[in-house]
């Protein structure tokens, strides 16, 4: 009986070992790069060498080897430390504005400009400009007046 148990245990361990996901360095960097270092300024745990960051990094590696996806790991840390731990605002609720403003400007800005400026074909004589013929006529009128001896203007 004891032997049986041992064999089952060994088998379980082996399968667990097989299930363990191979974590590539790139994947790890992606995840760790998204979590902020709690004790430093503007850095991710990936770039930081602080004790706290190293703990988080170890935790990330552990979770990844258990097969958790990036989203799940992020959710885990958000539950623990709040959305503050992420390096960008969550894409939900009020925080969505931080995402919508830039996207709106990038997409709507050019469209708006298009309607305001580009769609308008260059307009000649946007402000009343006299044609050459008009100018000639006016000049002749003035010349006639001058010949008559009066002041032109």
């Amino acid at each position: 009986m004891k032997k049986y148990f041992l064999v089952i245990f060994a088998a379980l361990f082996l399968t667990l070992d097989l299930w363990a996901v191979e974590v590539t360095e790139d994947d790890f960097r992606d995840v760790a790069g998204q979590l902020r270092c709690p004790t430093c300024q503007g850095m991710s745990v990936l770039e930081s060498d602080a004790a706290f960051s190293n703990q988080i990094k170890d935790l990330v590696r552990e979770k990844m080897s258990q097969g958790m996806s990036q989203k799940e790991i992020e959710a885990f840390f958000v539950e623990r430390y709040g959305p503050w731990i992420l390096r960008e605002p969550p894409k939900q609720g009020f925080h969505l504005t931080a995402w919508l403003i830039p996207i709106g400007l990038l997409v709507l800005g050019p469209i708006l400009l298009w309607f305001l400026m580009w769609r308008r074909t260059p307009v000649e004589a946007a402000i009343k400009l006299r044609s050459d013929a008009d100018i000639m006529a006016e000049m002749e009128k003035v010349l006639r007046k001058m010949k008559e001896g009066g002041h032109a203007v």
């Binding site: 850095m43 605002p89 931080a98 946007a126």
Partner: protein, 662 residues
Amino acid sequence: MFADYGFFLLLLCFILSIYGSIAAVVAAFGRHRRLWRSSRITLSITCGLALIASCILWHALFTHDYAIAYVFKNSSNDLPYFYRFTAFWCALEGSHLFWTLLLTIFSTVSLWSYHRDNEHIMPFVSASLQIVLAWMYYLAITYSDPFEKMGQAFTNGQGMNALLQNFYMTIHPPMLFVGYTALAIPAAYGIGALGHGDITQGWLKTVRRWTLLAWIFLTAAITLGGRWAYVELGWAGYWAWDPVENASLMPWLLATALLHCLLVQDRLGHLKRFSIILAFFAFFMSFLGTFITRSGVISSVHSFAQSPIGPNYLFFLGALLLGFCILFGVRSHSILPAETDKVWGYSKESALLMTQLLLLTSLAIVFVGTMFPIVSEAVIKQRISIQAPYFNTFAPYLGAGLVVAIAIGNLMRFQTPKIPNGRQIMTVAVAVAVPATVLLVWLGNVMQTTRLYALVAQIVGMYLISWSACCLTGDLYYRIKPFQGSLILFLRRNLAYTGAYIAHIGFLMAIFGFLGNYRTIEIKKTLNLTESASLYGYDLKFDGIKVLQEHNAKIYAAPLQVTKNGQVIGTVRPARSLYPTKPELLHEVGVFGSLWHDIYIVLADFDMKDMNRATFQIHINPTVRFVWIAVIIMCIGGIIAFGDRYRGERSRDMIAGEWNLK
């Protein structure tokens, strides 16, 4: 003893500035010439007094007058001479005085130069500058008094912040402040134009010069700040989208937009009001930047300069914004565009407007990213952080947009959809860009990139950059061609164009440099004595830790011998330094490499006892040097454009607009 005089001088400056601004306002509305002259002379006297006050502070720093709190807190007996000089701007009170001093100097210069061309608006310019100065001097004698005294006399000070004892930190703040304060003049001219009700003959020329000056200094200063972060902080990067970095980028973006807006105004007499708005907000943003640094509302690496001065800044910023909005609302309708026909449509002016849109979009993103955490905390009581990933999401699109806009905008002509030689230039550019991209990919060793999206982004980016550079060069070629080889003749009339060409090429090169961030390599390695690490074809041999004394710092250096292909090519010296003022060890990064990549080594950890075991963080940072070179090129372009005497001199306003010179 001298300190009392210092305080007294600043008080005098404050009183004089108040008189100067009142005199200027009365002169402006009463058309009183003598009063305006009096206000100008007042400002000149203020300038002299502020210079003397600054010299007193320098004197105190050099003679170790620890009776003054600022000197006590920011210097010590063992501080080298060089840093005693720079201690002036290494903390809040001193840098506030320095900012104010520079603003005073520039204001004085602006009132004595170009004043004949801008006679009608000068009183307004003088008034707006002196109102700002009065506020700054008020702060200098109340919340941020550099001459505040200690209760007792000390024989040694607490010492300067060790992080700031670096060559780049000595020139970065002055250059940044020059950029910030020079932006005050365009803003003052904008307010002057609003007050007067029209722009003046020399308005464009003057504003262009000052904006360009500010732009050159800001460009250099931002990069020097990045360079400081690169060699001093040890996180292998030069730009972290830190709030204070963003704060310096925002005025730069606005100054760049203003320069392009002035171009349209020069040629067509349009966008005058937009220029005024941009000029004001460029200065406003530089003030906001100062506020961000001072108040500590946003935590950042610059937190060494915090103080209760914050709320006062906020009050002033609000007043400034409100004042401008009211003035603009009441007066802007009298500033009319020139009667130019045939504008907009497919033309250079539209392309320039598109460029401004891109620059302002970048500004909006940087602004939202910097300010949103405060808003979010105030509105929904939830703390969030916005760091590099957020900005890096948008940066590639903005960069690509700007690269394309540079090419299109330079090829197009004002008031016409026709591009001269457009087809030839385009064909050649599209074709030449292919081998150019291949060459860049090969030289930069791009194919080693591990991630597919990063690889695609780099190749697309490099293609666009080479295409854009070819377009620019093609345009230059067809402009020089009619001069039949006489470059002097071309340059005489086209300095502004040439400067712009160089600056744009520099910008493209900088973007190319930024692309290197997609393919950085990083490893961490612990080495015992005489062991080596190999990475990227280099072998780095560890020879043990050496302890040295440099000035006032104790240095733990770990020199590594660099070998490539069996040949010794040099040594890198990553180190940690211990300053008497701080218990923790600071990073002294070791950088070595070629034009195409830096080997960047941080001494992460070492065995303090037997000194023969150390852990290194080794990074390969491609094309970082391109960024440094690119910025030098951009500044050279700016300086060349600064020398142009024609742009703005006979602008369309004078040809088409109505001028009643009184």
